[in-house]
Symmetry: C2
Subunit: 383 residues, 2 copies
């Protein structure tokens, strides 16, 4: 048995069969406190109930991208599952500039299937409300409310700034009433838009990959919230990775950056196509479509396009908050921290990211495609 | 004991003390079916639990506008309360062109207090989620989803059209994909925006008035939903009443119409001022304001204004759906039905109302004040 020290919240172990060295399982258990902080930082074990609930749901709609669960116990706050020994954390792979040809295809499937099948389009209102009750994860939601949407935007003692980051840039967010109002709108939406059962923390550290497979792990922040929160988390972390490569003046880096931007574009485009396809297929199979009968043709299509445009705007707003909190908040990302011995370089990349975040937050309703967002990212690097 | 036959859903009685003729109480009981339809139309008694829950909440924040409750039993689905014998239904008073000088003041207080104190700004997330669970009223929400947001917009057998209403006008809603998409967005918002504990059916038949007092009654559709749904219901029914008077060519009618428009303007303006005042007062009393610390001055104000603008847009969208459903759906209003012997006149008023509804639905984000909405109503009458 080997303890895994990656996570902050929970205990994790790989248990190997001494008789057959290829046989191993992954064991995760939530103590009634935050693991890395110790018993003086209590946190309820509700998070493991939420994780088990999410693993069960996600496996039911998208089994090929979930680790197989062998045993689960809400009472013990423990889950024993497939050990993904042949896979690496996506963030690490992206930092090492590995090409992952299946990434957009797989993650768009995960998003489309998990978000559609838990939405008001697929579930009866009765089942939807039951899912909301069952998926209550209040303590973890509060952590997100504070650490993603509040502390990074005020002078909070837990914030951690790169000393080379200019105060003017920090102030352009924290002291900009318009930016602050948009962030507060996203926080309010996080708390008041229970659209679908989310992963809840879908950054590139919650995905494991190899050339053939993609797995989504660690849904301990899962709750019923706005679809754009999961999509935005992924997009935010992919753009962060983009800025961590785009400053390099090599052909290899330029090619990798093109692949990253193409992947973000594909991720959204494929998500949209798959979500629309699930929706159309579902409504063909039921008698009463969500918006009532279409009397002219084109009615359902018009609503569905408007709906996906709203999901895109929400995703950009949430992506912006996620990008900002990784720079001004306490939780950092390795994509930028790898440069911590060159704080000026790190500050340059952080500034590009923050400027992008402000733009896609404040003008999120004006963007109708990822192509325009990609153009913005490229322009910010070219300055 | 006298049975009251006003309501469709529940049994209602006035019980008078034979010894003291001025002493009476009002008794309301929900059977496990829709009263007017009989036992072959089952409906759970959840609606009385929701009504009791709403009466308790509304009384706690706004006691002067709620009938006093003497006895309540969820098990018996019964409530015994103050008999409002000195008050009349607001809709009836408006049809009779009675001036009600306290109306905007009182209803704006009811809206500001009930909506603010059940919002994410006033409640902890834990208490908010508890309120959502406790206020589940799924069966009644389903009735609204169907009868307000779906049936009136398709060729549904339950719809009931004025035979004098032009098919072109009906088609301009039912066969307009853009209008239909906006209605679907409002339906989706109704189901996916649990902002505050609503009355849930706040039309002018759910308000009782005399010159001195205003009471809000019958919250059997209460649930946690979008703030704009309650505000929109009131506004919709006030504009419906406006169109029922505005065609008359008398000075008295013109004066009454001016009072109605002023009342709608006051209702919104006073609601906004009171909501903002409750919010500011509440955040002065707590350590951590919703959006974090204001570092420059003006930050909280910017968000609060943007938030209220969103509530106004939502209110207009919901008002539009409510106006349309009273004309194309099954449930009619006396404001127009009083003219049923002159179907052409009725159709003219219905057409004005439908044209207004389309405009404030589709362009709801463009309206920044009720003054512009009032101007639209006046222009539609002048055509």
């Amino acid at each position: 048995m080997q303890e895994i020290n990656d996570g902050n919240m929970n205990f994790a172990f790989v248990v190997t069969n001494k008789q057959g060295s290829n046989q191993s399982v992954f064991v995760k258990q939530a103590p009634p406190y935050i693991k890395v902080m110790g018993e003086q930082w209590p946190l309820t074990r509700q998070r493991m109930t939420a994780e088990i609930n999410a693993l069960n749901y996600q496996s039911s709609v998208c089994p090929e991208m979930l680790p197989e669960v062998y045993y689960q116990s809400e009472a013990l706050s423990v889950v024993i599952m497939q050990n993904l020994s042949q896979h690496a954390i996506l963030r690490t792979e992206l930092i090492q500039a590995r090409y992952l040809p299946r990434l957009a295809e797989d993650l768009s499937t995960f998003l489309a299937e998990t978000l559609f099948y838990s939405s008001s389009f697929a579930l009866s209102s009765l089942n939807k409300k039951a899912m909301i009750s069952k998926s209550n994860n209040q303590d973890m939601c509060k952590i997100t409310e504070d650490f993603v949407f509040t502390y990074p935007f005020e002078h909070h003692e837990m914030n951690d700034y790169n000393p080379a980051l200019s105060q003017t840039v920090i102030d352009s967010i924290q002291k900009n009433p318009n930016v602050r109002a948009h962030v507060a709108q996203m926080k309010y939406m996080f708390m008041n838009k229970p659209e679908a059962l989310l992963h809840g923390d879908l950054h590139t550290g919650s995905v494991m990959v190899n050339g053939l497979e993609t797995f989504v792990i660690d849904p301990e922040f899962s709750f019923v919230g706005p679809m754009g929160f999961d999509i935005g988390a992924l997009i935010a972390n992919l753009y962060i990775n983009y800025f961590s490569h785009a400053h390099k003046r090599s052909v290899e880096a330029a090619n990798y950056c093109q692949w990253l931007l193409q992947t973000i574009d594909d991720l959204w485009y494929k998500f949209e196509a798959k979500f629309l396809s699930l929706w159309a297929e579902h409504e063909l199979s039921i008698q009463s479509p969500f918006m009532g009968k279409d009397l002219t043709g084109g009615t359902h299509q018009t609503f569905r396009q408007a709906f996906l445009q709203q999901v895109l705007s929400d995703s950009l707003g949430f992506a912006a908050c996620k990008m900002i909190r990784r720079i001004l908040g306490v939780a950092k990302v390795a994509d930028f921290m790898q440069f911590k011995k060159d704080q000026k370089l790190r500050a340059k990349l952080e500034t590009q990211t923050l400027n992008m975040a402000i733009e896609i937050l404040v003008n999120r309703h004006a963007y109708t495609s990822i192509a325009d967002v990609n153009k913005l990212a490229e322009d910010l690097v070219a300055v």
